[in-house]
Subunit: 373 residues, 2 copies
C-alpha cells in the first residue's frame, strides 16, 4: 500500500514539500488556511471540480501571500479542465483559473518589489491556479495594479482585453481613419476590439450571428463605438464592399468563429495585388462555430490575402511579452476613464457551482462569470 | 460608318500612330514585316486566336528591334486569352504570350544599353505580346542573357523558375539542412523547387497525385534531387510526421493544388507554439484541383500556421523586383551547369495550332510547349 503522503493530491504534496524546504530559511510567515477549486482528472468541469481546504503554507524569503478578491471562469479554463487545451497544469491536484486579482496579505522578508499589504496585484503574465482564496508565489509573479477600478475588470484584464490590444498592434500597421472587420463582435474580445479601435480613430465593421435580439445587440455595439454592425444574413450578397460606404477597405480582420463568418471577414478585406500595397490579413483567434476556415486559392494568389493566428499564451511566452505589464496598466487606465467596458456577472465564491453552470452555458446565454472570494 | 482606321485591330493602330509620331525623329530604321498571334475578344484560345501579318514599324531613337527565337505557351497565357486572368492586355488586337527569347536585330540611334545585333535578349520583367516574329520596344524592356543555353530555357526562365526561386527566398529564412514540403511536385515550378532547394542544401518532401505512372514520376523527381516523394493516398494516415524520419519539420510549404493536397502540406508543417519559434508557413501559388483550402481554426491558434500567397506578376510590380535580372542570370547559370532542367517540347511556329491544342490538354498530358519562330 502506498504511504499516506502518496494519497494526497499533487498540489498538497507540493505545498508540504515547500513548507519542509522553507524551514531552513527560518521564515515564520505562513499563509492563512485557504480554499481552492481543484481537479484531479480531466472531464466535465461540473463532474471533476471540487472545493478543497488547503493547509497554511510557509512564505519563502521572496514570496508574496495574496488574498484573492476575484477571478473569472474563462472558456479556456473550461477547456483546460476538459483536457482539450494544449497547455494544462499537471494532475492530480490542479487548481483551476488563470487570471484574477488579489490583495497583498503578507510579504516574505527579502521581497524587493514595491509592494505593501493591501495593494492590488494580478499574476502577470497570467498563470495557473487563481481559483483559490490565498495564493503564495514568488514576488516576480505579481504585478501591482490600480485599485480605483471595479475589481471585476482587474480580474479579467489579461485574457480578453490584452488579446484585443495585441491583435490590433501585432499584424498590420494601422493609422487613424483605417478600418478593420471582425466577426463574433459581441464576444468580450470583440467588444474590446471595438472600443480600443475607437480610441485610436480606427473604424470597425462588425459581423454578428442571426438570432432573436440581434437588433438589440447591434444597438449595444454601436453604443460602444461600432461603426457598422451586420448580421451574417445581411451579408448574403455579391458585392459586400458596397456596404463599406466611405470607410476604407479593411487591411485587418479578426475571426473567432470559422465557417461562413470567416468567409465574410475575408470578403471585406482589402486586396490590391498589382500595386505595392499588401492584401489584407485575417487573424484567427477562436473557432466558436467549430467549423473550419475555407478559402478559394485565388484569394491567396490574386488578392494577396494572408492568414495568421493569435494565441495570447504564445505571445506571453515570446520575447515581446516584456511589455505585458505596461499594456495591462494602459488597459486599466482606459477602464478608469470609462473608455473600456464589458458586461460581467459577479458571483460569490459560495455559489461557485452556479457560476460554473452559467459559464458552461447551462442557463442560456450569460455574461462572463467572475467569482468573488 | 466608322472611318477605316477604326476597323483595324488596336495593335495595328498603335503601330501606325507610332510610325507617324516617329517621322519627326528622322530615324530611317524600320522593322521587317512580322507575324503575330492575335486575339480581338476573350474566349476559347483555339477559337479566338489568329495569325496576322503586322506591317513594318519605325524604330524610335531608343527602340530595339528583336527577332523572336522562342516563346512558351504558359497556362497564364491561356487564362489571359480566356479572360479569366486578372491582368490582361487591352482588346482588340492583343498579341498573345508573356515571355520568350529573341535576338537583337536592329538598334535605334540613341540606344545606350550594351546591346549588339545577334545578342540574346528577353523582356524582363516579362511583358505582353511575345508571340510575334519581330518586336520593337524601348531598350529598357530588354535584358541581355547568355546564349550558351538551349533557347527553350532562355524563353521560359521567368514565369516558372523565378516563381520557385522567389518562393524559396521571400517567406521564411531557410538554412542548409532545413526541409520544405510541396504538393504538385511534378509541375515545372515543383521541379524547379526541388532543384533550387538542393543547390542550397535544403531537403524537399514532395506530394504528387495518384495516377497511372506515379512510380515513374517519383523516380524522375528523385533523380532531380527530391528527398521524399509520396502520393496523396500514401499520406492517408494519422501521424504524417513519422514519415519525416531524420528530416526537420518543414517551416515552409508550397501549395499549387488546393483541396486535400493543401491539407497534406499543412499537416507536414512545423508548429511549436509555446516557444519562440514561429509555426510553419504555407504559400499558395496555384489551384490546379479548383478546390479551396480548408483549415481547422486550431491550426492558426495553437499551431501558429501562417498562410500566404505568391503571384509573380505582383512581385514584378513591387519595389523588390529590381533584382529580377540578377535572378534570371543566376537561374540561367544553373541551367548552364546542368543543375536546373525540366521537360519541354519545342515546336515550329508553322505548327502553332498543334502546340496550342497540346497546351490546352487536348492530347493528354504533354510537356510545356515552346514555339520556335
Amino acid at each position: 500500500m502506498a504511504p499516506p503522503s502518496r494519497l494526497l493530491p499533487a498540489t498538497l504534496q507540493i505545498l508540504r514539500r515547500r513548507c519542509a524546504s522553507r524551514f531552513s530559511t527560518a521564515s515564520s510567515l505562513v499563509s492563512p488556511p485557504s480554499k481552492a477549486v481543484l481537479y484531479d482528472e480531466h472531464g466535465a468541469p461540473d463532474q471533476v471540480l471540487r472545493v478543497a481546504d488547503v493547509p497554511p503554507v510557509h512564505l519563502g524569503d521572496r514570496d508574496v501571500c495574496v488574498r484573492m478578491l476575484a477571478a473569472p471562469i474563462n472558456p479556456s479554463d473550461i477547456n483546460r479542465i476538459e483536457g482539450v487545451y494544449p497547455i494544462r497544469p499537471p494532475l492530480p491536484g490542479a487548481v483551476g483559473g488563470c487570471e484574477g486579482v488579489g490583495q497583498v496579505h503578507a510579504l516574505g522578508p527579502a521581497v524587493t518589489a514595491p509592494l505593501s499589504p493591501g495593494d492590488w496585484v494580478i499574476p502577470s503574465p497570467s498563470s495557473f491556479g487563481t481559483w483559490q482564496t490565498y495564493i503564495v508565489k514568488n514576488e516576480s509573479v505579481w504585478h501591482k495594479v490600480r485599485s480605483d477600478v471595479p475589481m471585476e475588470y482587474a480580474a479579467t484584464v489579461t485574457v480578453n482585453p490584452l488579446t484585443a490590444l495585441r491583435m490590433l498592434r501585432d499584424f498590420v500597421q494601422l493609422n487613424p481613419g483605417d478600418a478593420i472587420v471582425q466577426n463574433g463582435a459581441t464576444s468580450i474580445v470583440g467588444q474590446c476590439v471595438i472600443q480600443l479601435a475607437k480610441v485610436h480613430g480606427i473604424h470597425t465593421i462588425n459581423i454578428i450571428r442571426d438570432r432573436p435580439g440581434s437588433e438589440e445587440a447591434k444597438g449595444k455595439l454601436k453604443q460602444l463605438g461600432a461603426d457598422e454592425v451586420f448580421t451574417e444574413s445581411q451579408l448574403d450578397m455579391k458585392n459586400l464592399k458596397s456596404l463599406l460606404g466611405a470607410f476604407p477597405e479593411p487591411a485587418l480582420g479578426f475571426n473567432c468563429v470559422g465557417g461562413n463568418a470567416a468567409s465574410l471577414v475575408l470578403k471585406f478585406l482589402s486586396h490590391n495585388p498589382l500595386f505595392f500595397r499588401q492584401g489584407g490579413t485575417m487573424v484567427t483567434y477562436g473557432g466558436m462555430s467549430k467549423r473550419p476556415v475555407t478559402v478559394p486559392t485565388s484569394y491567396f494568389i490574386f488578392k494577396d490575402i494572408s492568414m495568421r493566428g493569435f494565441w495570447l499564451q504564445k505571445w506571453m511566452n515570446s520575447d515581446k511579452a516584456e511589455d505585458c505589464r505596461t499594456m495591462i496598466d494602459y488597459l486599466l487606465g482606459l477602464v478608469h476613464e470609462g473608455k473600456l467596458k464589458y458586461e460581467m456577472e459577479s458571483i460569490p465564491f459560495s455559489e461557485f457551482s452556479l457560476a460554473l453552470e452559467k459559464a458552461l452555458g447551462k442557463h442560456g446565454s450569460q455574461p462572463k462569470q467572475v467569482v468573488r472570494f
